[in-house]
Amino acid sequence: MADHIRARITEELRQITAILEEITNRTSRWNGTVELVRDAGFKGLKPFHCSIFMAEDLAEEDVRWRTLIHEALHALSAGYNSTDFEANRGWEEGTVEQLQRLIRPIVLARMKVLPNEAAMMQIEENHLFNAYIKALEDVREALGRENQEFYLTLLKTPIRDRYTLCVQAAISSTGDNRRKAVEVLSAASPILKGRLL
């Protein structure tokens, strides 16, 4: 694929990353390199080193924005390493995907991009990470936390400590709220570790 397409995607990611750094108050670990992969299977991928991979055929599609923001958020996520990801993958993918959905309008408005929101929402309506998001939303509601703030707090908490953070918040609740939050966390925990069955 032509170098100018990779250059455009790199520039889009650079702008997204700058806005996300401001919103999250964190520094990205992305090294500024984008690899466009032919016949990739995946749409986007942020391995545990510093590059970002993207499917070549997605580069021209309007729905690429959701993938770019998602992968850029992985680069801002605390404790993003293979060991902790494997053990807590829902705590990472659910957090990053839900945050992508929440802050995408802000990011794209600042970039003056008018995306095809309907196409992106169609993907998200039946997205397989919705199982993770549902579990996280149950936890958030049980803890009585505000939407965006909850996910930004998770993002800046190392992946391995996100469950403990929520347990501590549950324990510090009182009365029925405490019992309910602990129950919800117990139900969400296996799902967020990838055990849906």
Partner: protein, 76 residues
């Protein structure tokens, strides 16, 4: 088409999100490829390939790190 309530799809998602070993990841990847081939309009499931690719990296790293350490050569 809305596939959200398809029981086969639910099982596939559980398989994809639950795969941790290399054989499980390979099996889930093949199952996901077949599903995408049969349901090309199901765009919500395609990001399963991202998680499987990451889990493959995790599994390969684990395999490498658990191999027996090589005896260092004697230095004269």
């Amino acid at each position: 088409m809305n596939y959200a309530n398809d029981p086969k799809r639910r099982l596939l998602i559980a398989q994809v999100l639950g795969a941790t070993t290399l054989p499980e990841i390979e099996e889930a990847t093949q199952a996901l490829q077949q599903w995408v081939k049969d349901h090309p309009d199901d765009l919500g499931i395609v990001d399963g390939f991202e998680q499987l690719a990451l889990m493959r990296i995790c599994a390969e790293e684990k395999l490498t790190s658990t191999k027996a350490p090589v005896e260092p050569a004697l230095v004269r």
